[in-house]
Symmetry: none
Subunit: 215 residues, 4 copies
DNA sequence: AATGAATGAGCATTCATTCAT
DNA sequence: TATGAATGAATGCTCATTCAT
């Protein structure tokens, strides 16, 4: 079992590549790593494969990364933040179409990154990574929660639901519904999902009002 | 990488154990497998460890299972069905406390089985398994959906939401919210979560009425 | 670079072999390790070769030893003590023939063990081992020195030489002369070497007297 | 494992460096090689490290040397001869102080070169090198032996010892005593060692006489 | 049936050497 | 000439699986 308590998240590169060509190779390795992790799973992928998929020799992998794990970390660091949702201004938008668009974008982004499919496997054995991911999730959750609090002050959302639970629900529905439905062979209807999420937030009459305000 | 396209789901046991002692060993192996998969992850656990944790020799493992994978399959087969929710009769229960109880039980069951933590890792590389799980999920989904359809005929639920989406939402919220909140260090309040789920289903006034009917 | 500060000299076996066959395999591995270390040098020998020379699979090597290093340590531990010279009683023996016999035995033993040829290489990089060997050498040196001190009290050895230096000289001559001469293609004449060593210890007239006393 | 049976001892330089800069680089590489071989052992040192220690690129190493081995050879060739002891004129010197000085110088030189610490490792696997070293040792031995023979003709040394054995003893004591004593944590007293060596050569009364002759 | 020693293919990693720049 | 990134064969070690006892 490998030990890595004292490493930073991404750590030093074995040697910092300075030339253009180098950066290209590093990128190719990252991209190949991502593709293979998603395709076959983290554990099922090895450094040799990543290298050969990237069109470089095995040894080259180790010039740029100390480890399969470090490559994974680099991938995550780059991209976890990109998942932060934009701050909505509820009075200016049709919440349903706002959410529908947001959901679709979000899921496309998730799919592009793809790493969410390998995360569960990793979180189980890399508690350091688990922390990083938990922190990122908490950040997203906090932003949603704040949004909801503002909305409540404006009196435009249900007043009998616990906002913390609502925001976690929104997160989970955004992340997992498309995943589960796809897994089970169904198509995701982002509009319907948006409606469901809106129902968690807005009483139907308020929602109606908001829609009217825009036009 | 082992090939197993043509195998059945669980396959023949290398020899069908008919005697008590045998059955005990098989059970011990299953239990040890489950414990270790949950504790360390599927990939990180090996047959030798499972055997020694179960107090038998390595070779004995292979008398009862062809494979770590087959043991996993057996674990899943046994237990996926147990997750089917009971058919509720909405006119007889307070939906909120019904859901709260259901959720808590469900999550406790999930935790007892524990395997949901290893599933994502497996689904990625074992499409046969993925199908089994998808089927089980679809079964649960179908039952929830039917419930909702009955309720709609009774006119007691929102009439503008897509029932398919709603039932997926209920499933996902039941499965994932507790997981995510625990991962991120929050306590789950099953009552609040039940209220949120109820809001997806029942208009507040109907819910009020249902509660009154009981008493 | 491997870390092994906290290990004992030989350490735990990966698993203690209890059966006869096992012990035979372990012995075969030790013997093959010794033969190959001597033949090709420590660094030039790898676990796979040792295993195949011993007629077992690579993995079997690792059942009995954690490491090439551990095998080496086992070899040394067994045998360093065997090099302790017997305590001589100068009044009972002809020193020259005593030394001649001793030298020949000693060198044959060294050659049988053979490990002295690989030691210098190891001492350079394994300070823990270096300590063990230094300790063993000091033990031998101490015994020789004590012998000499007794002899000096009996007034039978040169009184103007530093006994510490003399005993180191005896050790070095015993160990290294045969080695160097062989390396350079000369035959060792143990009788002549014994005479030289005796000259370091006994004045010629005393030696004469000692020889007479015996007969 | 590289093959080099058909190479000459040192071989052609990949390109004969004629310019100053080149010679400086070559020297820097030699010096770095020596330093690292001594510090970490021959096997533990690689070309990349030598190059980087010498402040040049990896590839540059291979412009000047075909091999780590060739660099080693160059180091040895340069310096083995330097170990030749001067021809003493016994009638002009105090043998004890002559030897004491000689020993100290010799050991300092050995330490400066340092390579004697890596030699044993190399001799084992490079029989060509072993020959070179054996030849150098034989040369030194021959010179000592000749010295002793002259002295014997002058009747100033023990007449009952085998001169061949004595000269090997002198060599071994000169080379190894300081090494062993240092290894075992003792200080070397060159004067005492000189006295011991003198005892191997000169009868005490002759030595006394030689000392008197000088003053 | 049960055991656990033995197997050897497979993976992560290193490093001597080459070669495009 | 000089560079250092790239190469890929070789090494140490693991582990799923077999099989003699």
């Amino acid at each position: 079992m490998s030990e890595h308590e004292d490493e930073q998240l991404v750590g030093e590169y074995p040697s910092l590549p300075k030339q253009k060509r180098s950066q290209q190779k590093r990128d190719a390795l990252l991209e190949s790593g991502r593709a293979l992790f998603i395709e076959k799973g983290y554990e099922q992928t090895n450094a040799k494969e990543i290298a050969s998929h990237a069109g470089v020799a095995t040894g080259t992998f180790y010039r740029y990364f100390t480890d399969k794990r470090q490559l994974m970390m680099s991938l995550l660091e780059d991209q976890l933040e990109k998942l932060l949702p934009p701050e909505p201004n509820w009075t200016n938008v049709d919440p349903e179409s706002f959410f529908a668009t947001l959901l679709e974008q979000h899921y496309k982004r998730l799919n592009r990154l793809g790493l969410h499919r390998v995360l569960p496997e990793l979180l189980l054995k890399d508690s350091q990574l688990a922390e990083v991911v938990a922190e990122a999730r908490n950040k997203i959750h906090a932003r949603i929660l704040m949004s909801l609090k503002n909305a409540r002050e404006q009196g435009i959302i249900w007043d009998d639901l616990d906002l913390d639970t609502v925001s976690w629900s929104i997160m989970v529905l955004s992340d997992k519904i498309p995943e589960k439905m796809t897994e089970c062979g169904n198509q995701v209807d982002y509009c319907e999902l948006a409606k469901v999420i809106c129902r968690l937030v807005f009483p139907p009459d308020v929602l109606q009002q908001l829609k009217l305000n825009i036009k």
